[in-house]
């Protein structure tokens, strides 16, 4: 009897913890998934308020600062480009013509407001989203960037 009770308690606690974790997991996944978009697709596919990872290359000659000091640049996949605004300093390896991922909440409009900019960590690495954007637009020519 005692042994069975004990097993029941263990199972009950395990189920309790599991359902708590499952609930939190589902709740967490609902609001925190970031969808990859390429510059060609973003305005057609992204919904307002959705977390988006915009991938591609930093368009040559597009880097500037606006009046408020925010960084302005364009992300391109060769076929189309999208303007991005980011308040703050970009990562060290943020450069013209290099792969970049801009993360932010999408709102319809000309400019994508990014909360975070990812560039590369080293010279030979290309962010996966940047590569994917170039592949989709047919501009990808192997691992050399």
């Amino acid at each position: 009897m005692r042994k069975r009770n004990q097993r029941l308690i263990v199972i009950a606690v395990a189920l309790g913890l599991l359902s708590l974790a499952a609930g939190l997991t589902l709740f967490g996944l609902r609001g925190n998934v970031q969808y990859f978009q390429s510059p060609s697709e973003i305005d057609a596919k992204a919904r307002a308020g959705q977390m988006v990872r915009l991938g591609g290359l930093v368009e040559a000659g597009s880097i500037a600062r606006d009046d408020a000091g925010a960084l302005i640049f364009s992300v391109t996949d060769g076929a189309a480009s999208k303007s991005v605004r980011y308040e703050g300093d970009p990562p060290d390896l943020f450069r013209e013509g290099q792969g970049v991922v801009a993360i932010g909440r999408y709102q319809p409009g000309a400019v994508f407001e990014a909360d975070q900019i990812l560039a590369r960590h080293d010279e030979t690495y290309m962010p996966r989203e940047a590569k994917e954007a170039l592949e989709r637009s047919g501009l990808w020519k192997g691992p050399q960037s």
């Binding site: 913890l17 599991l18 939190l24 998934v33």
Partner: protein, 661 residues
């Protein structure tokens, strides 16, 4: 010549570990074969150590006729980073993986403990096969001894972000942790094959688990500390796939550490312990796969190769497949009646295990969910850090509430009231911390809860020392010093969790940040400090050019100089940011130099200032945890020696006097 010798030695090691595997598995009934397996394991370690030394010497002499040296080194690089560069790349780090695995193989032969012959022989055999898998992969797909033709005049340099003391140590520690989990895995598979688990087996499991867990703790903490000061804004954890890859094995090792205690002391939970050992090593292999394949987007991703990822996945499937199949087949024969009450030390340790396993599960889901969605819908997604804050943190907070109580419980049948007798002061202090977080500093619910949990864990850990000190006599200083090392080990680790929690909560909730564009001569006031940009100069390092700012920071009547830099490494064609940190007792004042811009007044520099309150507690907490693990290893070794001496003692003629305890 040295390189060819290295390649030859690693192929020799491959043959030796294959022999170790076969002989070890066959040797469970034949001691002669087992002894041969042990000899193979030791010889393999010698071969791999020499092969690794050969690779180190190639790096030290900048021999660019080897591809791995040419791609990752540079003649102008400081000597220490030429040395550390040996494992700062894929090929070298895989050879290190093999070396560590062979090291554990040899250690298993030297430190047999009280293992029965069959268990010991088979564990050595399985460990040999693990090393074999890693070596086949290394030599076939990522040989560090591949030559390069034509030979370049200069190397491509090590990624400058990695040219850093913390990151020079980070990979070896992490690998000691990852690969350290292969020893419990080998012992678990040996137990399944022998159909035998006993106290000696559980005892043998603990030191390896402790080594792995402590190394992982140290490795992760170093990586986190590095991210804090090297990436330029003071973030120390990002819930990035590469970080999760090391965190999941850590959680599993932590659970394993606690379940082996139950198996050793009470004989129960044996099959669960075995399962955890298998899962722990599986997660370590999964971690290697995630880091090496580039299947997931990571801010820490370095150059990756999908073919290598596939091969690691094959190794992973082999280890997990064989492990779990054996488990399903043999575990039912290991079932033991578990006799303990619903409230007891055992039940709390079961709670710990359930909680840690489920926590690892949520991290796993968050990490692999993008891969699943991509496979099903073809859509490319990522899971953001808020997911982990929502799913992982509440679970962990609930788990930590139980942590201080568990050690105060009696085995078999305990009472909550007895535990509360010791922990009520900690409970009161935690309540006060919750109130402080909610009302005094205005942090909100989660900050209040976090502070409460931190204080509860820290003081609750000390309550255990207080209880043990008073056990069986007055609390004299002599009796304080005589407390067993094992008590301090656990207290340090548990208190470390509390210290870490406090640091993490306070820094996350109360850090301050400000970015300002300053001309030389300009001043600003921030976080109670007055800062003046004195000048910005160009400086030259051994293999980089630096733009260095000099700032005067006045704080409470004293003025300190800070010199944050932006460096450019021509060899790697890559810039880095070197921040300046002025620590005080309660916070770090953190300064990062940004880019230059031309204004009508001349050249201005964007400088970012941060105040990170109590951020050092995060790293001190982790250091305490690792120290706890190290102390526990020493305590185990001392106990083993005492037991061995005790055995000899009773066999010897009657002693003249009782030994001093």
């Amino acid at each position: 010549m040295i390189g060819e010798a290295g390649a030859f030695l690693s192929i020799l090691a491959l043959v030796l570990v294959a022999a170790q595997g076969v002989l070890g598995l066959l040797g469970h009934a034949r001691p002669g074969l087992a002894a041969a397996a042990a000899a193979c394991a030791q010889a393999a370690l010698a071969c791999l150590a020499l092969a690794f030394a050969a690779l180190v010497s190639l790096f030290l002499s900048s021999d660019f006729s080897f591809a791995v040296v040419a791609n990752n080194s540079h003649t102008a690089k400081p000597l220490i980073y030429k040395f550390a560069g040996t494992w700062g790349n894929h090929e070298g780090s895989m050879l290190l993986w093999c070396l560590v695995s062979a090291l554990f193989g040899a250690l298993l032969t030297w430190f047999r403990g009280g293992l029965s012959h069959g268990l010991w022989s088979r564990a050595v055999g399985v460990q040999g096969l693990v090393t074999l898998g890693a070596l086949v992969y290394t030599l076939a797909l990522s040989s560090p001894f591949a030559r390069l033709d034509p030979v370049p005049y200069q190397g491509g340099d090590l990624n400058p972000l990695l040219q850093d003391p913390a990151l020079a140590l980070h990979p070896p520690l992490l690998y000691l942790g990852y690969v350290g989990l292969s020893a419990p895995f080998s012992l678990a598979l040996a137990a399944l094959m022998e159909g035998e688990t006993n106290t000696a087996w559980a005892k043998a499991l603990r030191p390896w688990t402790l080594v792995a867990w402590s190394s992982l703790t140290g490795g992760i903490a170093l990586g986190s500390y590095w991210a804090y000061y090297e990436l330029g804004w003071g973030g120390w954890w990002f819930w990035d796939p590469v970080e999760n890859a090391s965190f999941m094995p850590w959680l599993a090792a932590c659970a394993l550490l606690h379940s082996t205690i139950v198996t050793e002391r009470r004989g129960s939970l044996a099959s669960w312990t075995i399962l955890l050992a298998i899962i722990g090593f599986a997660l370590a292999l999964l971690g290697t796969f995630l880091v090496r394949s580039g299947a997931l987007t990571s801010v820490h991703a370095f150059a990756v190769d999908p073919a290598r990822g596939t091969a690691v996945l094959v190794l992973f499937s082999l280890a997990v497949g064989i492990g779990l199949t054996l488990f399903a087949w043999r575990a039912p024969t290991l079932m033991r009646p578990a006799g303990f009450a619903a409230v007891s030390r055992e039940s709390f340790l079961v709670l710990n295990n359930l909680g840690l396993a489920i926590a690892a599960g949520t991290v796993l889901i968050g990490t692999l969910y993008p891969l699943l969605i991509e496979a099903v819908t073809g859509e490319l997604i990522s899971v953001g850090p808020p997911f982990f804050d929502i799913s992982f943190s509440p679970l962990m907070a609930a788990l930590l509430l139980a942590m201080p109580i568990a050690p105060l419980m009696a085995w078999r049948k305990g009472a909550l009231s007895a535990a509360l007798r010791w922990t009520w002061p900690a409970g009161l202090a935690a309540g006060a911390a919750v109130g402080l977080g909610l009302f005094a500093v205005g942090g909100g619910f989660w900050v209040g809860l976090g502070l409460g949990v931190g204080v509860w864990c820290l003081l609750g850990a000390l309550a255990y020392v207080w209880k043990r000190w008073g056990q069986g006599g007055p609390r004299t200083f002599a009796r304080f010093l005589a407390l067993p090392l094992a008590v301090w080990a656990m207290t340090a680790a548990h208190a470390g969790v509390g210290v870490f929690t406090l640091g993490a909560v306070i820094d996350t909730a109360f850090k301050l940040e400000r970015a300002e564009r300053l001309h030389p001569g300009d001043s600003i006031d921030f976080a109670g400090r007055s800062v003046r940009l004195v000048e910005v100069v160009e400086a030259e390092g051994p293999n980089y050019i630096a733009t260095r700012a000099r700032l005067e920071v006045s704080y409470q009547g004293t003025t300190a100089l800070a010199a944050p830099e932006r460096r450019f490494y021509p060899g790697a064609n890559q810039p880095t940011t070197e921040v300046a940190i002025l620590p005080t007792l309660t916070s770090d004042f953190y300064i990062a130099l940004g880019e230059a811009a031309q204004t009508p007044r001349g050249t201005a520099f964007t400088i970012r200032f941060y105040r990170h309150p109590f951020v050092r507690l995060i790293f001190w907490g982790a250091a305490l945890m690792a120290l706890g693990g190290a102390l526990a290893i020493v305590a185990l070794a001392l106990r083993r020696r005492r037991e061995a001496m005790g055995a000899g003692f009773f066999a010897a003629p009657a002693p003249a006097a009782a030994p001093a305890e």
